[in-house]
C-alpha cells in the first residue's frame, strides 16, 4: 500500500485525483490510500437525482459545493470538521467486500478508545449513531472504496442542506437513507485536534509504512483539468441525473399556475401547464419554450424572456416564474 498525501480541500480536485489514479496514472502498488477533507460540500451518489437530494437554495446561499461522486449510495454533507478516506485497489473482487477496507479504520479508532461498530448499511456507528458512510465503485479494473468520517462536523448546516423542499418528484434514482449521526470528537476521552486525528488514523492504517507517492506538477495539472472538465461541470452534477417528473406550483394575484415537467439527462423533455390563470396568449407558447431547456434557473429564465409573454397573462409575474419552475 502506498500513501498519497493530499492537502487540497477542493472536492472537485479531490474526486479528480481518485479518478486520475484509476483511469490514467496507474501506480505500480496494489493499493493507494488517501486521507483528505473538503470545504463544505454536498456529495451526491452516482445515480442520484441531485435536485431531489439537496436544498439548492441553502447550498447556493452558503456557497456550498455540489458534486456527484463516482461511487454509489446516498448524499452526504462534508466540511472541514470531517475527513474522507479512499482506498484504490487493483482488481475487482469476485464479491463485494467492505470489511477489508473498514476494518483498518475501526482498528485506528480503537486506539483512541472509540467504540466503533459496523451496521447493516455498511456504515460505522457509535451507540447506533452513524459517523461514517461508505460506498464503492468498480471501474477500469480497480475497486475504489470511499468513506467519510464525521469528526467535528457542523450538523446544523448539514441538516439545513439536506432538508429538501417538499416538491412532488417522481424518479427511479437511488434514494438517500436518513440516519441519526454523531461526531467522533464527542466520544473521545481526551481532546484530540483534527490534524492529530488525521495523523493517528493515517499512521494506523499505513501500519508504520512510510511508502508515499508525491504528486508531480504534471500530475496536479492533469488532475485540475479533470476536475474542471468532469467534476465541476453542470452535465456531470445535474445532467446525468436519472429522468424524473416534477410538479411545481406558483400562486399569483392572477391565479394558480402548475407546471408538470419531465426531465431527462438534465433537460426538460415535456411540459404541461395547468391552472386558473387568464391570458391573451396560448400557454403552449411557454411550454414549447421550456421543452429542450436545461432544468436550471438561468436557462429557464432565458427561455421565458425569449418567448416574449410578459404581458400575455393577467397578473402573473413572469420574473418570478423561473424561481417557481426550478
Amino acid at each position: 500500500m502506498i500513501y498519497v498525501e493530499n492537502n487540497s480541500t477542493d472536492p472537485f480536485y479531490n474526486f479528480a485525483l481518485e479518478y486520475y489514479l484509476i483511469t490514467e496514472k496507474q501506480l505500480p502498488e496494489d493499493q493507494v490510500f488517501i486521507f483528505w477533507r473538503t470545504e463544505p460540500t454536498l456529495m451526491i451518489g452516482k445515480y442520484q437525482n441531485t435536485i431531489e437530494e439537496i436544498n439548492e437554495h441553502v447550498a447556493k446561499e452558503n456557497g456550498i459545493n455540489v458534486v456527484r461522486r463516482i461511487t454509489g449510495g446516498g448524499t452526504i454533507y462534508t466540511d472541514m470538521g470531517g475527513w474522507q478516506f479512499s482506498f484504490i485497489t487493483k482488481g475487482v473482487g469476485e464479491s463485494i467486500d467492505f470489511n477489508k477496507y473498514i476494518g483498518p479504520v475501526i482498528d485506528g479508532l480503537k486506539k483512541l478508545d472509540v467504540p466503533a461498530e459496523f451496521n447493516s448499511r455498511n456504515d460505522l456507528v457509535i451507540h447506533g449513531k452513524k459517523f461514517s458512510g461508505n460506498a464503492q465503485c468498480m471501474l477500469n479494473g480497480y475497486t475504489l472504496h470511499h468513506g467519510s468520517l464525521l469528526f467535528n462536523t457542523d450538523f446544523e448546516q448539514m441538516v439545513k442542506c439536506l432538508t429538501v423542499d417538499d416538491y412532488k418528484i417522481i424518479s427511479k434514482g437511488i434514494k438517500s437513507v436518513k440516519e441519526r449521526v454523531t461526531n467522533i470528537s464527542d466520544h473521545l476521552n481526551r481532546p484530540v485536534n483534527t490534524d492529530t486525528f488525521r495523523k493517528l488514523m493515517v499512521d494506523s492504517i499505513m501500519q508504520g509504512s512510510h511508502k508515499e507517492y508525491n504528486l508531480t506538477l504534471a500530475d496536479q495539472d492533469r488532475i485540475k483539468t479533470i476536475a474542471k472538465e468532469k467534476f465541476e461541470s453542470w452535465e456531470w452534477n445535474y445532467g446525468t441525473s436519472p429522468k424524473f417528473n416534477i410538479t411545481r406550483t406558483g400562486r399569483f394575484d392572477g391565479g394558480k399556475m402548475e407546471f408538470k415537467l419531465d426531465v431527462n439527462k438534465g433537460k426538460i423533455t415535456d411540459c404541461h401547464i395547468y391552472g386558473d390563470f387568464f391570458g391573451t396568449m396560448d400557454i403552449s407558447v411557454l411550454s414549447d419554450a421550456l421543452i429542450g431547456t436545461n432544468y436550471e434557473k438561468e436557462s429557464i429564465k432565458k427561455a421565458i424572456e425569449q418567448c416574449n409573454i410578459k404581458h400575455g397573462f393577467y397578473n402573473i409575474n413572469m420574473d418570478e416564474l423561473a424561481d417557481i419552475i426550478c
Binding site: G72, G73, R121, N134, M138
Partner: protein, 79 residues
C-alpha cells in the same frame, strides 16, 4: 446463437440490484469485454462487461429498474 445476459450476483446477501445505466443500445455491436451496463447494489457501483461478442438484440429493463439476481436482462445474438 442467442445468449441471455443475467443480472450478476455480487455478494452472497445480494437479492436485487438497480440497473443504473445502459452503455449500449438495442442493435449495437458488442465486443467481449465491452461495458454493457452499470448496476448499483449495497452502495457499490459496478460495471458489467459482456462475456460475448455479437449484436445486442433485446433489452428487457430500463435504467432505474430494480432487478433480481440472475434475472435475464438482455439477449445478445452471437451469430
Amino acid at each position: 446463437m442467442k445468449k441471455n445476459i443475467q443480472m450478476p450476483k455480487l455478494s452472497e446477501q445480494m437479492e436485487t440490484a438497480v440497473l443504473a445505466a445502459w452503455n449500449k443500445e438495442t442493435g449495437d455491436m458488442v465486443k467481449k469485454g465491452d461495458v454493457l451496463f452499470e448496476i448499483e447494489t449495497e452502495k457499490v457501483v459496478s460495471e458489467v462487461e459482456s462475456m460475448e461478442s455479437g449484436v445486442l438484440e433485446e433489452i428487457f429493463f430500463e435504467a432505474g429498474d430494480e432487478i433480481k439476481a440472475d434475472e435475464i436482462i438482455a439477449v445478445i445474438n452471437c451469430d
